[in-house]
Amino acid sequence: MNIDNFFLAPIFLPLLAASIVLMSKSFFPVKLRRFCEYIGILIGLLLPILIVFLLYPYVINNGSLSIVIGSYTPKIGIIYKFDSLSLVMILLTNLLSIPAWIYSRKVGPAHSYFTALVLIQSATIAAISMTSDIFNLFVCLEVMGLVAYVLIASKQERSAVFAAFNYMMYSSSSMVFFLLGSFGLYRLTGSLAYQEITKTLMTLSAKEQNLALVCLLLLIVPILLRVAIMPLSGWLINAHSKAPHAVSALLSGILIKIPLFVLVRVFSLSPVLQNLTLLLSYIGAATALIGVLFALAQSDAKKLLAYHSISQIGYIVTAWALALHHGIDTTIGALLLIAALFHSFSHAIFKGLLFLSIGTATDAAGSRDVYKIRGVNYMLRQKGEKFPLTMICFLIGALSIMAIPPFNGFFSKTLLTYYVKTSIHYTILSIAGIGTIASFIKLSRIFLPSKEIKKPIKELPTSKFPFSIHLSLIILALLSLLTGIFAQELFGLLENMFISTNQRPIKATIFFSKSNLLKTLYTVLGGILLFIIATNKPGSKILHKLKSLKTDFTDQYLAFAITIAFLSSFLLI
């Protein structure tokens, strides 16, 4: 075993851990099983993070390591390539799975199968980030999808099962189109590996080039469905809001970002696809705005957070699309890609924090309606929480998403909007920021004291509040604070990885400039204004109309077809 093979360890370590967990389930008694689960998480999630840090020197300056699995010829074998994008994706997955798993020990699904599924998900995402072969990408995307469906359906409630069923039908049928696209590409080029396909596609005749573009579109749109940008996001609301809380954190944090960064590689298959990227950036900006509008209209706390996930993924898609538009080998393109990666990282952290804290709060209150619940702190006290940690962590998460310093949301959103300054995207994203603040003011009203007369606090029966909830919330809050404070250094590390030495930008990005801070102030004031408008009569009438818009099963497919038609007409005409 040498360094050429070593980078495959983040795939095989979690699988080894999952097999140990499953062995312990069949052979050992219950107490030993929980011990094996802890060992499994240690080997499967923590060890790959250490390995990824060891591999950092090999990926600076856009370096990469690649190998054919089993050392066969690259014409038939599968090539795996590890580069800086893979490093960030593996780090994101493993780092965010740990707090979600800790949270689920007491509250969520706590059987050994849950641990094994989280480990399998981590291994699959490591494989997706490294693969250079279309059919291997298909298999790994299906595994990732299946893990998501089973995790959503593990709540044993009928609405969760229906949400998982809806997602499964939609996503599996779109993967059939992916398979058709890979059929077309294999027929045209004779190979399934990215490099071979890129080489051969350039030598084809014009009519075959058009066919190749249709095939590539059929590869791209099913992956965009997993990312949940606007017309294709019908599945996300129910899937993320009805799942158990730890699973919602995992889904919103990890599973909607990974397909987007895999698309960076798929878009490199043909240079003609670059024409699509400007259109995709406008779609991303529109998603950000429309997502926030719908979020403002919701009454269910978890549905509100799910619509915010759609809006934030719109931000990330905008930056990603503009990065591809300029080309990721130019300085400005790489900086935009870094902005997208940094925002997905911070979004995963603060969205996890929000889902877990709101989940605890709504469990204690017994309902999810933000108009009716008040005084959640009292109910949490009833459950045994002595110090209002849940409320503090919710506030940290809310301040992050509203982009207020010194939390990481401020740094990542500033970074993102810095590089799109001179275009219409800037305006749309700023309006979306105002909407975010308004809806989070609305959400945080549940912590206001309620007007009923309650028993004085000293007489409450005290039960023990699970330590695992506090531990996971503290980990996420600390991560949010630390990535905010050390944002400049992290940004420098990312620059080292993605930009080669001779192209480094001369000026560093300044976060605390006067205009940035003024802009934050204006956004907060605009948010408060919007909130006041939204809670008065005319505003709430419009929002009520938005809330009662219903889509059914067929509409999702109509959206899918329209997306394909729209993108293909843009490319071919």
Binding site: K75, G77, I120, N136, G190, T554
Partner: protein, 243 residues
């Protein structure tokens, strides 16, 4: 209401057919590069005469690993949705082919004919399944195909009453399944990390030795697929406490 949904369905189907038709009906000739290379080199590099086996267990081993993971996750999900795994007791599954002997009068589909024939056929099908598993490298067959046949054989054994065997006990089956999963991961780790041209050096001496990894992988995959499918079907028939 009816008209708008008809219009939506028509529009969707029309757009999808437009996108899919050129791919299905294109007349480009199928590329022969892969076939020529494999025709010349597959036996020397992997030791298997069945080219399909040499592809999915040799060249494209990661796909097979992903496929096994799909099966594991799907069976876990199916059992947890149907049986409420996180509770310690199983819900009572009432079916007409239930395995528990005390429900015999209500099991309308458990006739004497089914029981006798199934128990006689069970071992024969098991033998056939093992044959398909073990000979996967020189004739059509392999781990997945043999595994499915083994699973149906175990279900036959469970349906019959003339046979008293531990093979239909869910605990034994899930132990075999967990053991075969960990051996699959260990063998795959060995092939990926520690080979570096293992096959090409040995193949010239003795094709049987170089095919040994393929035979081993076939057996492990067959056991995994067979036992996991059998556990799911026996659990759905309520057979946890039967034998």
């Amino acid at each position: 209401m009816k008209k708008t949904s008809f219009f939506k369905i028509f529009l969707t189907t029309f757009i999808i057919s437009l996108a899919v038709l050129p791919i299905i009906l294109s007349n480009k000739s199928w590329p022969t590069l892969a076939r020529d290379y494999l025709f010349n080199q597959a036996f020397n590099e992997t030791g298997a005469s069945n080219t399909v086996s040499s592809i999915y267990l040799g060249y494209r081993l990661m796909d097979t690993l992903g496929e096994t993971l799909v099966l594991l996750v799907a069976i876990t999900g199916t059992m947890s949705i149907l049986l409420n795994l996180h509770k310690q007791t199983l819900e009572s599954v009432e079916t007409e082919s239930s395995l528990s002997p005390e429900k015999r009068p209500q099991n309308a589909l458990r006739t004497n004919l089914v029981e006798v024939v199934a128990s006689k056929l069970g071992p024969i099908i098991l033998l056939f399944g093992l044959y398909v598993m073990l000979y996967g490298h020189i004739s059509p067959g392999g781990g997945f195909q043999g595994g499915v046949i083994v699973a149906s054989a175990i279900v036959f054994l469970a349906l019959g009453t003339e046979v008293k065997t531990k093979l239909t006990n869910s605990v034994v089956l899930s132990r075999i399944e967990a053991f075969s999963f960990i051996s699959l991961i260990l063998v795959t780790t060995y092939v990926v990390f520690f080979t570096d041209g293992f096959f090409s050096s040995i193949a010239t001496d003795s094709p049987f030795v170089s095919a040994s990894i393929i035979i081993l992988l076939n057996i492990i995959i067959g056991l995994k697929v067979g036992t996991s499918l059998a556990v799911m079907i026996i659990a759905m028939m309520g057979g946890q406490h039967a034998h």
